[in-house]
């Protein structure tokens, strides 16, 4: 087996563990937020038929964290969803490092392009 394919295999195992951990962590946080949210708002009437946009404090990373620390159920759920969205981003970041260790600079570049698009979507494209 060549050194490259052995390394690829090992990278994939680590990536697999990273993804599983990220998803489970996110699901746990969402579940916790769900309990808080349903305990407080369970008897209200839901309305998603007409779009009204989520309030500002549920749209950006910093205000979501702030709200979650204040034990707002919806903000805790949103924090879990943010963790979930961050999981594939972490995977891409890890791949870039792994390709750099393999000295595969063409793939470091390709991976950084993907990372740039993801970061633009998460942080750049607000409003």
């Amino acid at each position: 087996m060549s050194a490259q394919s052995w390394n690829d295999q090992r990278i994939e195992v680590i990536i697999g563990a990273l993804l599983r951990t990220g998803v489970m962590l996110a699901a746990t946080v969402v579940l916790f937020g769900a309990v808080v949210y349903l305990a407080r708002h369970g008897s209200e009437v839901p309305n998603y038929t007409v779009f009204h946009g989520e309030p500002e404090n549920l749209k950006s990373a910093s205000s979501i964290v702030h709200g979650a620390l204040g034990m707002s159920g919806r903000a805790i759920i949103q924090l879990g969803l943010l963790l979930l969205i961050a999981t594939p981003v972490a995977r891409v970041l890890f791949s870039a490092i792994a390709f750099a260790i393999e000295r595969d600079y063409m793939y470091v570049f390709i991976t950084l392009v993907v990372l740039a698009i993801l970061l633009y979507s998460l942080f750049g494209a607000s409003g």
Binding site: E12, I15, T49, S60, S121
Partner: protein, 279 residues
């Protein structure tokens, strides 16, 4: 119906969607949006936001199992992700700034019908010993995977066509909040001649990254509603995990036809509702 009942019903529906999606290999995402829009009368963009989140969850959950087996090809995946993520941004921008809910519904319906058609169609495995194209060789896309008697190696061709199809898959993912696994596998099977086991697992691997690219945009625009996304995400994730466990023992063929029939009905309904402006 209060929030508690609403969450419970959507959670159950999503559980079923995730379960059937995993069992049939079609993914739960394709039925989540029609379910929310048609059954629960949720605004389609809210439905797409919630669906995107569940797509990330199932993709990452399933990929963790696949990568251990050594079928997926991280180079092919990463290279094609430059196309799918760019497409996903474009698709999300179109959904959020350009087209109306009715147009989204019609496109969604057509994609559903196409997915059902694909799933009833037998895929043809290509000869494993094609030579690599020049571009594929330069990108070092060929690889190998574990077969019954040792490693099977494969080459890759048709890179520009595959790349183009991947961009389309990304646009559909961002526009509709689905994984577009069907188009991704098509690009890798038909255009690039990659073996099934590799194309299926690599596609699954890519879906999460693609969905994350558009999810950011939906979040900023306020289309990811925690109260709605919560039961969808938890339901689909639990359903798909159970589905993956049952997969080995179940007789999938009958279920597959049944699920395809459900998708056809939903597809026609989405097109009809979109055309009559009732979505």
């Amino acid at each position: 119906m209060n929030v508690l009942e609403f969450s419970a019903m959507i959670g159950l529906g999503s559980l079923l969607a995730g379960f059937l999606g995993a069992l049939t290999g079609l993914g739960g995402g394709v039925v989540v949006v029609p379910m929310l829009a048609l059954l629960f009368h949720v605004d389609i963009r809210y439905a797409i936001g919630a669906s995107l989140v569940s797509v990330i969850a199932t993709s990452s959950g399933a990929a963790a199992a696949y990568v251990r087996e050594g079928y997926s090809n991280i180079r092919i995946g990463m290279f094609l992700e430059t196309a799918t993520t760019a497409g996903a941004l474009a698709g999300a921008a179109i959904a959020l700034y350009v087209v109306s809910s009715n147009v989204i519904a019609i496109v969604f319906g057509v994609v559903l019908l196409y997915s059902a058609y694909l799933s009833s169609h037998h895929r043809v495995e290509h000869g494993a010993h094609l030579p690599s194209s020049k571009l594929a060789a330069r990108l070092r896309l060929s690889g190998s995977y574990p077969g019954p008697d040792g490693k099977l190696s494969y080459n890759v061709t048709g890179v520009p066509a595959g790349y183009g199809l991947m961009f389309v898959a990304g646009v559909l993912s961002g526009l509709l909040g689905i994984g577009s696994g069907a188009v991704k596998v098509l690009a890798m099977d038909q255009a690039m001649k990659i073996p099934f086991k590799v194309s299926t697992t690599t596609s699954n691997f890519m879906i999460g990254v693609t969905a994350a690219a558009s999810a950011g945009l939906y979040l900023h625009r306020g289309y990811i509603a925690p109260g709605l996304a919560m039961p969808v995400m938890l339901g689909v994730l639990a359903g798909s995990l159970i589905g993956a466990r049952v997969l080995v023992k179940a007789r999938v063929k009958v279920l597959r036809y049944l699920f395809a029939a459900v998708i056809v009905v939903l597809g026609f309904e989405m097109v009809y509702k979109g055309m009559t402006g009732r979505i």
